[in-house]
């Protein structure tokens, strides 16, 4: 298989590991913008999801917005916002902001929906008991609902983060950085090693992101909810996603 050997040759070529446009630089660009996108998505989606879950109000509206966010193709989002963002900045507004917006739009639905569903799924006996002891609403949310539903909330963040990392590759079509450059350039330059080397890197990054958040998710199960002997246990009243 020349494809496999081309890919291995490209991945192991020292020239692809140092200097401008090399793998470490592209990886940092990829992770940097992905982290910013995730942070923006969290700031928007997490408070909204928690508030909706706690108050049980606005869940229909949230579901509609989340579904729109899920159904619009990322490339279309980029195309729609690009004419607006270039007015803000002709450089970043062309190469960076449209992709950033697309990543945020795509990451909001899973984070918001899981935060809401996690809080809604907390056993009412727990929250009623908490209120009975005189806890205020903020304390109920912060002290009971969030800790109990944390694995579900983090599952949403995990799904959003993985989608962000995958969507970041589209930015290369508009001159952006990141690992997507290898796919776009490899196709144009008729270089199979570069294309599939890029594919391997993007896939590995998505899997690593998924694995890292899966670990985080397990680590965040409240100690009081852990089954003896195991570090995860089905939480009563919470649907795993």
């Amino acid at each position: 298989m020349t494809l496999v050997s081309d890919t291995l040759t490209w991945l192991t070529d020292p020239a692809n590991w140092t200097g401008p446009g090399a793998i470490p630089q592209r990886l940092i660009e990829h992770l940097g913008l992905s982290a910013i996108a995730l942070a923006v998505a969290l700031v928007i989606a997490l408070p909204a999801g928690l508030a909706i879950g706690h108050t049980r109000r606005g869940s229909a509206l949230a579901a509609v917005l989340a579904n729109i966010g899920r159904s619009v193709p990322s490339l279309a989002v980029i195309g729609i916002v690009l004419p607006l963002t270039v007015m803000i900045d002709p450089q970043l507004g062309f190469k960076v902001y449209p992709t950033l917006v697309a990543m945020v739009v795509l990451a909001i639905p899973p984070i918001l929906v899981n935060a809401e569903a996690g809080v809604v799924g907390v056993d009412p006996d727990l929250t009623e008991a908490a209120r009975g002891t005189g806890m205020r609403e903020v304390q109920v949310l912060a002290g009971i609902e969030i800790p109990v539903s944390l694995p579900v909330i983090v599952a949403g963040v995990r799904s959003g983060a993985t989608q962000i990392v995958a969507t970041m590759t589209l930015g290369a079509i508009f001159g952006g950085g990141g690992l997507g450059r290898y796919l776009v350039e490899g196709i144009a330059q008729n270089d199979d090693g570069k294309i599939f080397g890029g594919v391997v890197l993007v896939a590995a990054l998505a899997l690593a992101t998924e694995a890292a958040f899966a670990r985080l998710q397990r680590a965040l199960v409240s100690p009081g909810l852990r089954a003896p002997g195991g570090d995860t246990a089905p939480v009563p009243g919470i649907a795993e996603t």
Partner: protein, 304 residues
């Protein structure tokens, strides 16, 4: 529109029956492909309709299929039978040959390579129209730096932001020619790589993201935006005339001379202003590619 299409369909059916009664060679379905951008698609559609008018059945699934990377293997493996190709770029970036600004030589060199590909592929006559890689700047940039030629760019290369085709760094006609003939080093300039002749490329120039963009010389955005196309004063860019590439095994199944004559007659009528107008009608006029193709064929007497 619907009525025009219905009439066009009726017309082609009439021609079809006419062709049947007069006999002639077998006319198996011809599978036509093209690269993705509007200009190539409209030329492919013109060839398709010209063949339909003579009674051939056309499978258009391959029109707009994608880059050469996708299209050439499809042609070599017989998934498509025919595609319009830019012979200069096809020779250089598709098959690793060396293209010149002499279209006859480009055609001969491409034919020599294609004789051995996919059981033999024939390059038919090329169009008088040429679509060359063009470096384009906005009017104000041209005035500010007094730019007329590619050579003028060398002195101010560091002051400008550039957008070149994604394959440029490895393309001898792009990065190679810029460096060797003009002293413009693509490794040191502020460079963004975008799809050649694409909407993002034109947008980047329009929005001021870049100051110099590589576009197709027939690109309608150049006229619409009153941009300045700089002269390739050292003549480095290949002559990109368009010619249909046809698989020999398909030609063997049909009346070869008659089939080739249909396409060659059409190609002979496509000159550079025609090509630019067709491209303009589709890309800027937002007209349907099939309508643009049939209107042109009617205007030039190829179909009634």
């Amino acid at each position: 529109m619907r009525m025009i299409r219905t009439l066009a369909l009726g017309a082609s059916l009439l021609v079809l029956f006419g062709a049947c009664t007069t006999g002639g060679g077998s006319k198996p379905t011809v599978k036509i492909g093209s690269v993705g951008f509007d200009e190539a698609r409209v030329v492919a559609e013109i060839y398709a309709q010209a063949l339909e008018a003579d009674g051939y059945t056309v499978d258009r699934a391959g029109i707009g299929l994608g880059a050469r990377k996708v299209l050439l293997p499809a042609l070599e493996s017989g998934q498509i039978d025919l595609q319009p190709e830019y012979i200069g770029s096809g020779l250089a970036s598709g098959y690793g040959g060396t293209s010149t600004n002499d279209p006859a030589k480009n055609k001969a060199d491409l034919q020599a390579i294609l004789d051995t590909k996919g059981g033999g592929i024939t390059v038919l006559d090329y169009t008088p129209a040429q679509d060359t890689n063009a470096l384009v700047v906005r009017k104000e940039t041209a005035d500010q730096y007094n730019l007329k030629t590619w050579g003028d760019l060398a002195a101010v290369q560091g002051d400008l932001k550039w957008a070149l085709a994604t394959d440029c760094p490895t393309n001898p006609l792009c990065a190679g020619a810029l460096k060797d003939d003009y002293g413009i080093d693509t490794a040191t300039i502020d460079l963004t790589l975008l799809d050649a002749c694409s909407t993002p490329m034109a947008d980047a120039l329009l929005q001021g993201t870049v100051d110099v963009a590589e576009l197709c010389s027939t690109g309608p955005e150049i006229i619409v935006n009153n941009w300045v196309r700089l002269e390739d004063d050292k003549g480095t860019q290949p002559a990109d005339n368009i010619a249909p590439l046809v698989r020999n095994d398909y030609l063997a199944k049909v009346d070869k001379a008659a089939f080739e004559k249909i396409l060659n007659d059409v190609s002979a009528k496509i000159d550079t202003p025609t090509l630019a107008q067709l491209y303009y009608d589709v890309a800027i006029g937002n007209k349907d590619i099939k309508d643009v193709a049939s209107a042109w064929l009617k205007a030039n007497g190829f179909v009634q």
